[in-house]
Amino acid sequence: MLDKKINHPLHAKTDIPVRFSEETLERVRKIIERYPAGKQKSALLPLLHMAQEEFLGYLSVDVMDYIASLLEIQPIEVYEVATFYSQYYLDPVGKNVIEICRTGPCAICGGEAIQSYLEQKLAIKTGETTPDGLFTLKAVECLGACGSAPVMQVNTEFYEFLTEEKIDHILDDLRRKSSEEKPEASKWKEKFF
């Protein structure tokens, strides 16, 4: 089952003020309009993607409560969704989340070796975050790109036909870009215009 444990006490509060920018709120209104009146809860999944990206990289209780208030639904309705879907993170993650595909077709094309190599290069186990906070490594199920196996996704960008040399290159590149802001064009809210 996908259910994940929420590690924070339910009332854990972060210090970060939770409020979308006016511009994002305009997007939010447009997304809600895609569903019939009174069915605004339908916007929950896209909004959680945007919230995770805009605030902390994961969904804190504050963030989930904020989304509940935006959609005029109960916080529990948000928690039960956030715990169900694997793309929502409930614990802090590194700046870059590496999701390596572990499913059959990738596995028979060398995916397991690539996963081991990532663990070795980052000096962490799958599921952990590097001490410098730059990388979290996760293993995920089939990413729908099996023809380019082995594949991984970093912050929802795809990397295909992976080899050890490619991994070296990608990690170096991500390290170099670590101080830069994420390009606007790749953000969730830019995909819903």
Binding site: L45, H49, V81, F84, C109, T126, G127, K138, K191
Partner: protein, 446 residues
């Protein structure tokens, strides 16, 4: 001669834009349907085409449409299923990335036929960049008057929206998808009632796969009879096959149904044979949920006939010696592939993806994963193999949705056709033919 319906124009430069797509005859079907045909006439053509659902189950599309409840007076919805999470399947991604307008054109005709004024495309969250491509195409279609109010000056209004999933295989199941679209966990609903009567927001709803809908434009333009001239028997038309695993040319191919498996597997136009000159060991022909077949049974049926890429031929022999066309995810295994390890891998997938509503699926998939893990790691017991068969048989048919069956079949079939390999693993685990894979046994299982 290769005959194509969907990917005919895929290589035309700029085909992703409205202008170029329109210049190749794109959206002609919308003009024809809206101006010259009644909705029922469109449904009739789709029925006549023999088009079967391309999402996996192969249910006739026209028949599904005719079940839609027109009496309730409630709004009707069309949902395009772009959740595509079945391991080995990546054809819908290809279609949406290359030809987003083909899907939108098909959806407009389909919504017209169904009397739906709203359509949603449910895209798996991992395909984030596809969401951008689709929204761009939708925007263009609105600007050109093919979406919105009074389309082409007719009385027909239609809005199409993209909705994102967030990582859950089960949301590909149609009723789970409806729940997810309502902003809930993806727990499948008990059927009946079927979505055609009680679907999204309790209203009549049709859920169709991306590829199914992409075929509708051709059927409207050329007539169902013309479509039915492609393919053989009840397997009409073409099918996108996504080929992967140990082959020379992995990728997405449009084949006319009826092509022989041998040709698909060995012709350089398609898979181009097994990689590195190795022997073929096994094939999963229709996505990870369908039974695996050994080389001997995938090329020829048990009766010795040439196996064809059709719904009927692949299913020949039932689950004893046949399989299914499924979603068209064609996974090829060479002689070095370890069937035990692969079966454990898939069992882990289904355990992870079970929504947890029914005990046989929730608990059974967990047991199958642990028992297979034990065998794979050299701690198996002889009776474990029959234990697996027994668990699989107790899940099958006893659950709310077909994920339970989908979890049971790969395991039951792997044991049916490769029992000796499981026995060998129990008795002599150190001798696993796939020592190159086994050295990664300590890869973290999360």
């Amino acid at each position: 001669m290769e005959r194509k319906i969907l990917l005919k124009n895929v290589d035309v430069p700029g085909i992703r834009t409205f202008e170029v797509y329109r210049s190749t005859g794109g959206y002609d079907s919308v003009e024809k349907a809206l101006k010259k045909m009644t909705p029922d006439e469109v449904v009739e053509e789709v029925k006549m085409s023999g088009l079967r659902g391309r999402g996996g189950a192969g249910f006739p599309a026209g028949m599904k449409w005719s079940f839609i409840d027109k009496k309730s007076g409630n709004p009707r919805y069309l949902i395009c299923n772009a959740d595509e999470s079945e391991p080995g399947t990546f054809k819908d991604r290809y279609l949406m990335e290359k030809l987003p307008h083909l899907l939108i054109e098909g959806m407009i005709c389909s919504c017209y036929a169904l009397g739906a004024n709203t359509g949603y495309i449910y895209v798996r969250g991992e395909y984030k960049y596809i969401i951008g491509i689709l929204n761009q195409a939708i925007l263009e279609a609105y600007e050109k008057g093919f979406l919105g109010k009074n389309i082409l000056g007719t009385a027909f209004n239609l809005d199409i929206h993209v909705h994102s999933g967030a990582g859950a295989y089960i949301c590909g199941e149609e009723t789970a998808q409806i729940e997810s679209l309502e902003g809930k966990r993806g727990n499948p609903r008990i059927k009946p009632p079927f979505p055609a009567v009680v679907g999204l927001y309790g209203c009549p709803t049709v859920v169709n796969n991306v590829e199914t809908l992409a075929n509708i434009g051709f059927i409207v333009n050329n007539g169902g009879g013309e479509y039915a001239k492609y393919g053989v028997g009840k397997s009409t038309g073409t099918k996108l096959i996504s080929a992967c695993g140990n082959i020379n040319n992995p990728g997405v191919y449009e084949i006319e149904l009826g092509l022989s498996v041998r040709e698909f597997l060995y012709d350089p136009k398609y898979c181009g044979g097994v990689k590195n000159g190795k022997e073929l060991k096994a094939v999963i022909a229709g996505g990870s949920s369908v039974p695996i077949l050994p080389a001997s049974l995938i090329l020829k049926t048990a009766a010795g006939e040439e196996r064809l890429m059709t719904y009927e031929s692949l299913a020949d022999g039932g689950f004893v010696s046949g399989t299914m066309l499924g979603s068209g995810g064609f996974i090829v295994y060479d002689e070095d592939a370890c069937i035990v390890r692969n079966t454990w891998n898939l069992a882990r997938f289904y355990h992870h993806e079970s929504c947890g509503q029914c005990s046989p699926c929730r608990e059974g998939t967990g047991w199958m994963e642990s028992v297979l893990h034990r065998i794979e790691n050299g701690h198996g017991r002889t009776k474990d193999i029959d234990l697996l068969v027994s668990i699989a048989s107790k899940i099958e048919g006893n659950t709310i949705c077909p994920l339970g069956d989908a979890a049971a079949w790969p395991i039951a079939s792997a044991i049916r056709h490769f029992r000796h390999e499981f026995e060998e693993h129990v008795l002599h685990p150190e001798k696993c033919i796939n020592s190159t894979i086994r050295q990664f046994d300590d890869v973290t299982i999360s």
